[in-house]
């Protein structure tokens, strides 16, 4: 069945029936191409989702303050909730079983300058533990430590891109920069996987920031790392009692959604992973639909091809073609075309995906890709079904009496 002669015969037929070859090849190639690209985009969407959350530690709560919307225990609504250093101490004292680390956060936007270079950056007053929550990696120098907090030193840790902006290729560590009017010594440079914005941050000891701002003890938010071993359920329980504790201390109505807000990264990550999974299912569905459409397309073309060839097949039978050889010729031809064009479509799709790279990041598609086994499986599935789609009309054609086939016009 696979002798060289049969292949030669098939190649000749393919060569001399270019339109037919093109039609079926095009359908298959397009089907696989769309499948690969869609699937890749789906993965790109999921990548974007994961990226939003993977660059911060996931065992972290952020406690933000807000403005009350409900009166409670004699306090009127519309009161601004404030956090101060005593809240840090209270949380530390009351939740020793859950707590791994704790850092305040005071967020400011300041103009930072070195010599002639100057720029506006996020300037955060934080404690040493903040490094773990943000998963900052120190490239050189060191992070803010306990002594910085205690002594209220004018030391700053700057992001990689801040150094690049202000110092060019020079080393920033040990140099003095001006931060919102005060001089700070750069003690470290960090990098962060969270993208450019996170590397355009500078961190200073929160105590220093409070000192400069008229010696207040106010803070904006609390960053609380919990022990990973407490698990998801433990984290949810911790969140609940923490919420209750702060509401009681600050006289916020238990139902007031705006007084404080706890961002549970673990929970959000979980929700987003669920969302990403749903997204993946939807994309998978659409991609699956494309393959089905491809199969239907190739089936139609095969029916058409066999119909068009009825008379030719009748002639071949009159000259001695057996039903087996009739089926074989049609099938081998169709499988050959689907295989070649299927893999062309697949490679094109993979090529398109890899040439996209970062160009679609604005559309929330990051690094679209399809794993090779997936692409190959889809292609093989289409080839197999293309074969089946060819087999059914081929068998019918093989069964037609030659005299009937010859009469076909």
């Amino acid at each position: 069945m696979f002798s060289r002669d049969i292949w030669k015969e098939i190649f000749e037929t393919i060569q001399k029936n270019k339109l037919r070859t093109f039609l079926s090849g095009f359908t298959v190639a397009l089907g696989i191409l769309i499948f690969v690209v869609l699937f890749g985009f789906g993965n790109g969407l999921i990548n974007t989702f994961n990226e939003f959350f993977s660059n911060d530690a996931t065992n972290v709560f952020m406690v933000f303050r807000g403005r009350t919307t409900m009166p409670y225990k004699g306090y009127k609504a519309n009161r601004t909730v404030e956090f101060d250093n005593s809240d840090l101490e209270d949380v530390e004292k009351n939740f020793p079983l859950f707590l791994e680390y704790l850092s305040p956060r005071i967020t400011r936007q300041d103009t930072v300058s070195y010599k002639n270079e100057s720029n506006s950056y996020s300037n955060w007053g934080v404690g040493p533990a903040h490094q773990y929550a943000e998963m900052n990696i120190i490239m050189k120098g060191r992070y803010i430590n306990v002594m910085d907090i205690k002594n209220k030193t004018k030391n700053a840790v700057i992001g990689r891109l801040v150094e690049q902006d202000l110092f060019g290729s020079k080393n920033a560590v040990g140099k003095y920069i001006d931060v919102g009017g005060s001089s700070f010594k750069v003690i470290g440079v960090f990098q962060d996987d969270g993208g450019d914005n996170e590397e355009r941050n500078i961190f200073v000891p929160y105590t220093t920031m409070q000192l400069i701002e008229k010696n207040t003890d106010k803070i904006d938010a609390m960053v609380i790392g919990f022990k990973p071993e407490i698990g998801y359920a433990g984290a949810m329980a911790f969140e609940k009692s923490l919420d209750k504790f702060i509401r009681e201390k600050k006289y916020i109505h238990p139902q007031d959604r705006n007084g404080i807000f706890i961002r549970n990264v673990a929970d959000q990550l979980r929700q987003n992973q669920q969302f990403a999974r749903v997204l993946q299912i939807i994309v998978g569905f659409v991609a699956f639909g494309t393959i089905i459409a491809g199969i239907i397309g190739i089936s139609n073309i095969m029916v058409f091809v066999v119909k068009e060839r009825t008379k030719e097949l009748g002639i071949r039978k009159a000259l001695g073609a057996t039903p087996k050889s009739v089926i074989g010729t049609i099938l081998l031809e169709s499988v050959f075309i689907t295989t070649v064009s299927g893999f062309i479509g697949m490679l094109l799709g993979v090529g398109i995906l890899s040439s996209m790279g970062e160009r679609l990041e604005d559309f929330f598609i990051t690094n679209p890709y399809i794993d090779m086994p997936m692409a190959i499986i889809a292609t093989v599935v289409l080839i197999i079904f293309g074969g089946i789609a060819g087999y059914v009309p081929a068998r019918r054609a093989a069964r037609i009496k030659p005299i009937v086939a010859l009469r076909d016009e």
Binding site: D5, K8, K16, A318, G320, I403, L406
Partner: protein, 233 residues
């Protein structure tokens, strides 16, 4: 070479049935050149198709070269057609995307003759019908007569025991018809058995025997003095 005995064939069309062949008997010996005549609808093509195993009789016996042709499955029928029979059709039935040579070589492909030999043989038979120079042309680049000569070369290529020609000259003008008949006569001179369906008297008289069909029965079966076609060419 060919023996038929009480051959019946009807076509069913819905509830109706059209009895086309009503018990035919005849025998054809090797080397004969037989014309089958009759008016339109008398069953000539039906008979020829049954002899060619392109169609099946309802009842009766048919023996080809001593082999009883009965209850053949398609695969077997295909093998017999390939080995025993060559066809020449009124409408030529060449494969339009294959060159003259490839068309002639096709029956040999199904005989599993190696490509090189196939092509040599195809060229040989094409030169016999005077179309060596046209070997690489497609059918639509050939005239009707040339197409029929390619078809004859194709029928010859498999070196069959019997050549079956259904109105081989039906689509040709008289001059070209005589050329084709000349070719058929020469092939017959070499000892091949040939059946020619025709409704033209002059073509029939270029054969050696005329079988006359009417309403599904043989009304006349006579030997004739062959008129050579070469005198008109």
């Amino acid at each position: 070479m060919i023996e038929i005995n009480n051959l019946h064939k009807s076509y069913k069309m819905g509830a109706n049935s059209l009895h086309v062949l009503k018990g035919l008997n005849f025998s054809i010996k090797e080397g004969e050149l037989v014309a089958i005549m009759g008016s339109s609808g008398s069953g000539k093509s039906t008979l020829l198709n049954i002899l060619g195993m392109l169609d099946e009789a309802d009842s009766g016996e048919y023996t080809l070269d001593g082999v009883p042709i009965k209850n053949l499955n398609e695969t077997k029928a295909a093998k017999y057609r390939n080995k025993f029979l060559g066809f020449i059709f009124q409408s030529f039935n060449l494969i339009n995307y294959k060159s003259a040579m490839e068309n002639v070589a096709l029956p040999l492909y199904y005989q599993k003759v190696p490509r090189k030999q196939r092509e040599e043989k195809a060229i040989k038979y094409l030169s016999q019908v005077g179309l060596k120079e046209w070997a690489h042309h497609l059918p639509n680049e050939l005239s009707g007569g040339q197409k029929q000569r390619v078809a004859i070369a194709r029928a010859m290529a498999a070196e069959p025991k019997v050549l079956l020609a259904d109105e081989p000259t039906g689509a040709l003008d008289s001059k070209t018809s005589y050329e084709v008949m000349d070719l058929i006569q020469k092939i017959n001179d070499d000892g091949n058995t040939i059946l020619v369906v025709t409704h033209e008297e002059d073509i029939a008289h270029m054969c050696k025997r005329i079988v006359h069909l009417k309403d599904g029965v043989i009304v006349e079966d006579k030997k004739v003095d062959q008129v050579r076609a070469s005198q008109y060419v």
